[in-house]
């Protein structure tokens, strides 16, 4: 091989390394996670799906491998305290009806789902318990108590593959989410797909674009040192493209949450994950 060819090959391999996600494997507390798998059939434009963990720096990645190092567990601990806290006119706490958060193993992987013709997210289920069983005030969608509780409940499903239903009753919601995913919005005129499907692995200024998978939600973000709900994250994305965000807990975001979850079918639930 001539020298010129060697240089071309070397340059090519460097540029690939710069844009591709890394190839490390994630093991949390000895349990190995699926962070890369072939894309489900309904995701037409991707061959392989990757967890957002694969796009982060090695220091950030390391935080997620140990439950003590993972700062999200501060919030999981808060939720364990909240679990037994009696609130509301009915004088009940979560533990009055539920034996423990363990009984929700598998729930995170299936949500959002359709119940009585409505698309419900985990936040809806928690607030339904709070208002109807506990007769207490509902929690705000992305406030600390709510994200702590969704972290605790989501943690019970860690390691299970994401598996949301997208057919039957869920089909119209899934279609609505898909339409939103491919709709250009805001002053920058960008859709979700422009960044997270066409350009994942690339840098957008200083940020490494992931595929926008939500298998690790809620997410502890180093930028704000708290748990971030999926809808809070959508809101941040929409502000970045200079669009007017939809309401957290509204039908648009819930449909998008369902569609995004379906794009990650087969990835392990990583809740509570650590991202930057």
């Amino acid at each position: 091989m001539s020298l010129a060819k060697w240089i071309t090959v070397a340059v090519m391999s460097v540029s690939t390394a710069a844009i591709a996600q890394d190839s490390s494997t994630l093991t949390i507390e000895g349990e190995s996670m699926v962070t890369e798998t072939s894309a489900p059939a309904h995701v037409e434009n991707l061959d392989t799906i990757y967890s957002g963990w694969r796009f982060r720096s090695s220091e950030t990645q390391a935080l997620e491998t140990d439950d003590f190092d993972n700062p999200a567990f501060v919030f999981v601990d808060q939720a364990i305290d909240l679990w037994d806290k009696v609130e509301g006119a009915a004088n009940k706490s979560c533990s009055s009806c539920h034996e423990g958060a363990e009984e929700f193993a598998g729930l995170r992987a299936q949500l959002p789902r359709v119940e009585d013709g409505q698309l419900v997210a985990m936040e809806d289920l928690i607030n339904e318990c709070r208002t109807e069983r506990m007769e207490a005030e509902p929690w705000k969608w992305s406030k600390g108590n709510m994200t702590a509780m969704t972290s605790l409940i989501g943690l019970q499903s860690r390691g299970m593959p994401v598996n949301v239903a997208i057919d039957g009753e869920a089909a119209p919601f899934w279609e609505a989410g898909k339409e939103l995913y491919y709709t250009r919005l805001g002053q920058l005129d960008l859709s979700c797909s422009n960044c997270h499907e066409n350009n994942y692995g690339m840098m957008i200024r200083a940020d490494h674009l992931s595929q926008g998978q939500i298998n690790g939600s809620p997410t502890y973000r180093l930028k704000n040192a708290k748990m971030n709900s999926v809808h809070g994250r959508f809101k941040g994305c929409m502000k970045n493209i200079r669009a007017e965000p939809f309401a957290e807990g509204g039908p648009e975001f819930k449909a998008l949450e369902l569609y995004l979850a379906s794009r990650g079918q087969g990835l392990s639930v990583e809740t509570p994950s650590v991202r930057n």
């Binding site: 003590f68 190092d69 700062p71 567990f73 501060v74 601990d77 808060q78 040192a225």
Partner: protein, 109 residues
């Protein structure tokens, strides 16, 4: 007393004599810097953990001074060689006078 303060410590339950063990300590704490203002424009008084110590069987192992630029939920990780079975005591000192402590036993064979 600051709200939501909870110390968490990870010490191996057993170790061999002379073995180097890793100890991880984290306390959930706001670490209020004293630079911020509340909604009415009043300065929120500084309230940080200003000192952290670890003792083993009454003997000091590590003593750390903390300054206002340290992040919320300060985390320490250090290594120690444990000569005998005993108890680690970890203490955090808050600006507002509160002292938080927790202890962990370790068996050395």
């Amino acid at each position: 007393m600051a709200k939501g303060v909870k110390p968490r410590v990870k010490v191996p339950k057993t170790a061999a004599a002379g073995e180097k063990i890793t100890i991880k300590c984290l306390i959930s704490h706001k670490m209020e810097s004293g630079q911020r203002k509340d909604d009415d424009g009043n300065v929120i008084p500084r309230s940080i953990i200003n000192r952290f110590t670890a003792d083993f069987n009454g003997q000091n192992v590590i003593d750390v001074a903390l300054e206002p630029a340290i992040s919320t939920n300060p985390f320490f990780e250090f290594e120690a060689i444990v000569p005998e079975s005993g108890e680690f005591t970890f203490t955090w000192y808050d600006d507002d006078g509160s002292v938080y402590d927790t202890s962990k036993k370790i068996e050395v064979s």
